[in-house]
C-alpha cells in the first residue's frame, strides 16, 4: 500500500465521519418541523444537537483540507467544476448555521417559525446535495485532459440516477436522525419519533436496494474492486451486518445500540462505494484516460509524509475530545438557561 493509498483511506474515513456525525444533525434538522409540536419540543429537538453540531461540521473542514493537501488536483477540478452546486451547499451551510444561532434570540413565534423553516429546509437541501455529489463522483464527470470539468450548467449534474442517490441519502439521514432523536428525547416526543423509525428503515431499505442495483447494473466500473481484491467485501458485508443488527436493536428497544449500528451502516456504505471507485477519485465520463486516480492526482511523497505526521499527532486528540464532549452531553436533553 502506498502513502497515497493510505491518504485515500484516511480521506474517506474523514468524510465518512462527517456523514455519520453531521448526518444525524441533518436528519434532526429535517425531522424538526414534524417531530416537534410546540416551542418547548422544538427547542429540545434543536438542543439535542445544540452543543455538538459545530464540532461535527469540523469534519467537513478537515475533509476539505485533506483533499486540498493530499489530492490538490482533485480538489481544484471538483470545486471549480461543481461551482454552482457548491454555491448552493455554502448557502445552505451558512443559513443552517445562522438559523440555529438566531432562532432562540427572540420570543416572537413568527421569528422562530421563520428560522425553523430555514433550519429544516437547509438541512434537507444539504442531505439531497450530498447524495447528488456522491452520485456525480460515481458516474464521473466530463473531465478534459487538463483536468477541467466541462459542464455548461448545474442541470448537467442532475441525471435520474444521481437524483435518486440524493433521495436515498435523504432517506438514510432521516433514519439516522430519527435514531438519534429517540436516544436524546423522552415522553411524547420520543414516542412519536419511535413510531416513525420502522418506516424510515423501510424507506431506506427500499431506496438503498434500488440504488445498489442501479450502481451494480450501470457501467460505472465500481464492482471490479470487489472481484479483484476479495478482502474488500468486508465493507459491504459489514454494512449488511450492521443493518441487521440495527433492526434487531430497534426491536429490542436498545436505542443507543440501534443508533450506533445505524452509524456503522452509514460509515461502511460510504467505505463500500469508495472501495468500489478505487483507484479512481474523479472519473472522466468522456475519456477514461483523463480520469484522476489516487496515483496520478496525489500530492508528492514529501507533502504526504508531512501530512502523515500532522495526522498522527492531531487525529487522536480530535477523536479523544470529540468522544469526551459527546459523552459529556450524552443522555436526554435538558433545557437550561444557556440552551438555544
Amino acid at each position: 500500500m502506498s502513502l497515497a493509498d493510505f491518504w485515500f483511506m484516511l480521506f474517506v474515513a474523514v468524510i465518512a465521519a462527517y456523514i455519520v456525525l453531521d448526518g444525524f444533525d441533518l436528519g434532526v434538522g429535517m425531522l424538526h418541523p414534524f417531530a416537534a409540536k410546540e416551542d418547548r419540543e422544538r427547542r429540545i429537538v434543536l438542543n439535542s444537537i445544540g452543543p455538538i453540531w459545530d464540532g461535527n461540521e469540523v469534519w467537513l473542514v478537515v475533509g476539505g483540507g485533506v483533499l486540498f493537501a493530499a489530492f490538490p488536483v482533485v480538489y481544484a477540478s471538483m470545486f471549480s467544476g461543481f461551482y454552482w452546486a457548491l454555491m448552493l451547499v455554502l448557502i445552505a451551510l451558512i443559513l443552517r448555521t445562522v438559523a440555529i444561532e438566531f432562532r432562540g434570540k427572540r420570543e416572537s413565534s413568527r421569528w422562530r417559525g421563520l428560522w425553523d423553516s430555514v433550519f429544516s429546509a437547509s438541512s434537507f437541501g444539504l442531505a439531497l446535495m450530498l447524495g447528488v455529489a456522491f452520485g456525480n463522483v460515481v458516474t464521473g464527470v466530463p473531465l478534459d485532459k487538463n483536468g477541467e470539468v466541462q459542464i455548461d450548467s448545474l442541470l448537467d449534474l442532475l441525471h435520474p440516477f444521481v437524483l435518486f442517490l440524493g433521495v436515498t441519502t435523504v432517506a438514510m439521514l432521516l433514519m439516522h436522525g430519527a435514531h438519534y432523536l429517540v436516544v436524546k428525547t423522552e415522553g411524547d416526543l420520543q414516542a412519536r419519533v419511535q413510531r416513525w423509525v420502522p418506516w424510515f428503515i423501510a424507506l431506506f431499505t427500499l431506496t438503498a436496494a434500488i440504488s445498489a442495483v442501479w450502481i451494480a447494473m450501470g457501467d460505472y466500473g465500481v464492482t471490479d474492486t470487489f472481484t479483484d481484491d476479495v478482502w474488500t467485501l468486508v465493507f459491504p458485508l459489514g454494512a449488511l451486518v450492521a443493518y441487521v443488527l440495527m433492526i434487531a436493536m430497534v426491536r429490542r428497544g436498545r436505542d443507543f445500540a440501534a443508533f450506533f449500528s445505524s452509524s456503522a451502516v452509514l460509515f461502511l456504505s460510504l467505505a463500500t462505494i469508495s472501495a468500489g471507485l478505487y483507484p479512481n477519485m474523479l472519473k472522466s465520463s468522456t475519456n477514461p484516460a483523463n480520469s484522476m486516480t489516487v496515483t496520478n492526482a496525489s500530492a508528492d511523497h514529501y507533502t504526504l509524509t508531512v501530512m502523515l505526521v500532522v495526522a498522527i499527532i492531531g487525529i487522536p486528540f480530535v477523536l479523544l475530545y470529540t468522544a469526551g464532549v459527546q459523552y459529556l452531553f450524552s443522555g436526554k436533553v435538558k433545557l437550561t438557561p444557556s440552551s438555544y
Binding site: E57, P72, V89, Y302
Partner: protein, 478 residues
Amino acid sequence: MNPEFLSRLQFALTASFHFIFPPITMGLGILLVWMAWKHVRTGDPVWRQASVFWVKVYGLVFAMGIATGLVQEFAFGMNWSQYSRFVGNVFGSLLAAEGVFAFALEGGFLGLMLFGGDRLGPRMWLLATFLVVFGAHFSALWILMANSWMQTPQGFTTKMTEWGNQAFMTNFGAVVNTPSFLPRLLHTWVASWIIGSALVLSVSAWYLLKNRHREFAKRNFSTAIKVFTVLAILQVVIFGAQMAISVTKNQPEKLASIEGNWTNDSCAPLYIVGWVNESAEKTYAIGVPCLLSFLSYGSFDATVPGIEKFPKDDWAPVNLAFQAYHLMIDLGFLLPLIGVVAWFVWWRRKKERMPRWLLWVCISTVFLAEVATIAGWWTAEVGRQPWVVWKILRTDAAVSPTLTTGQVLLSLITFALLYALLLVLFLFLLDRKIKHGPEAPEEPHGSDLPNTFREVFRSRSQGRASGELELEEEHVPS
C-alpha cells in the same frame, strides 16, 4: 468585467466580511478567559455575571465566523482552481493542519464553552473557554502561515507535471516560517486583542452613557481601557513597526505602492493622507519629509526604491493600496490617542462623570479598530498584486478557467445580498443583546457543579444511573 476581476472582488468581499468575526473570537476570548479566571480566583459574582454576558455575545460572533469561514476554504478550489493545483502540495497542507489541530479544538469545545456555564463548575468552564480561545489563536497561526507563504514563498520547488506547473514542498520548516510570518502573526494577534478590548470598551461606555448596569460597566470599562490603550500603543511602536520593516526588507515593491512613492528618492517623505494619480504617476499628499527614509533604513537621506524602479507589469493598483494602508495607519495612530485620553480622564475623575463626548468616542473604538484591521488586510493583499504568490504566480493565471463572467457575477451578487442580510441580522441581534444587558449577579455560584475531571465524569455516570441530571426547567428563559 471578467471572471478574474469578479473572482477577486468576490474573494475580497467574502474574506473581508469573514474577518470581522475571528478577531473578536480571539480578542474577546482572551478577555473572557481573564474574566473566568478572576471568577475562579476571587469568587466575585460580578466576574461570573460578566462571563455569562460576554459568552452569549461570543456565541453569536462565533456562529458568524463559522458560517462565513467555510466559504474561504471552498473558494480556493471554486474560483482559483489553477492556484489550487499549483500550490496544493504546499498551501493545502497548512490548511489541513489548521483543520486538524486548531479548528477541531475550537469546534469541539465551543459547545462546552457556550453551554457549560450551568453544567460545569467555574474551573472546568474556564478550561473549556481557554481551549476554544487557544484554538482560535492556533487557527489564526496556521492561516497566517499559509498567507505569509503567499507573501514571501520559500521552501519549495516547481516542476511541470501532467497537470501543469506545480509547486512541491522541499522544506516544511522553511514553508511554515517564512520571513514575513512572525511579524504578520503578531501584528494580527495584537490587532485582534485590540478589537476584543474595544468591543468591551464600547459596550461598557454605552452603559455608562445610558446610566445602566453601572457596576458591571465600570468593572468592564476599567479592564478594557487598560488593555486597549497598552495594546494600541504597542501595536504602533513595536508590532506595526516590525511589520513595516518586514515589508521594506522582503517586498520593496509593495512598500513603494502602499506609500505612493514613485521615484527613487533619498529623503523620502512619510505621507499621512493623499491621493495617487496612477496615470500621471504622481502622489498628491501631505506628509512628513524624510521620515520614510528614516523609518525604513534608519537614515534621513537613505534612498527608498520607488515604483518606477520596478517593471510596469508588476505594479499593484497603487491608489487602492495607498488608501487602504493610510486608512490603517491613520486609525492606528488615532486609537492609542483615544485610549490615553480616555484612560487619563477615567483615572482623574475616579470613574465617575465621564464627559458624554468622550464616552461616544469610546463607543466608536470597536468600529474604528475593525475598519483599521480590514484595511490592513486590504493593504497586505492589494499590495501583493499582481501576484497571488509573490513573484511566482500571477493572479490572472490563478483563476479557474472554466468560470464564465455570468456565473461569477451571479455568485457575487448572491454573496453580497446574503451577507448584507446577515450583517443586518447580526447587528440587530447584537444590539438587542447589548440593550438587554447582563443578568443580575448571581449568588456565589457553582459549588454543586463538577469542578474537576473526576467530578465531571462521576456526575455523568450518576446522572445516567438515576436517569436524571439536575436543573429545574421552570425559570428557563429562551
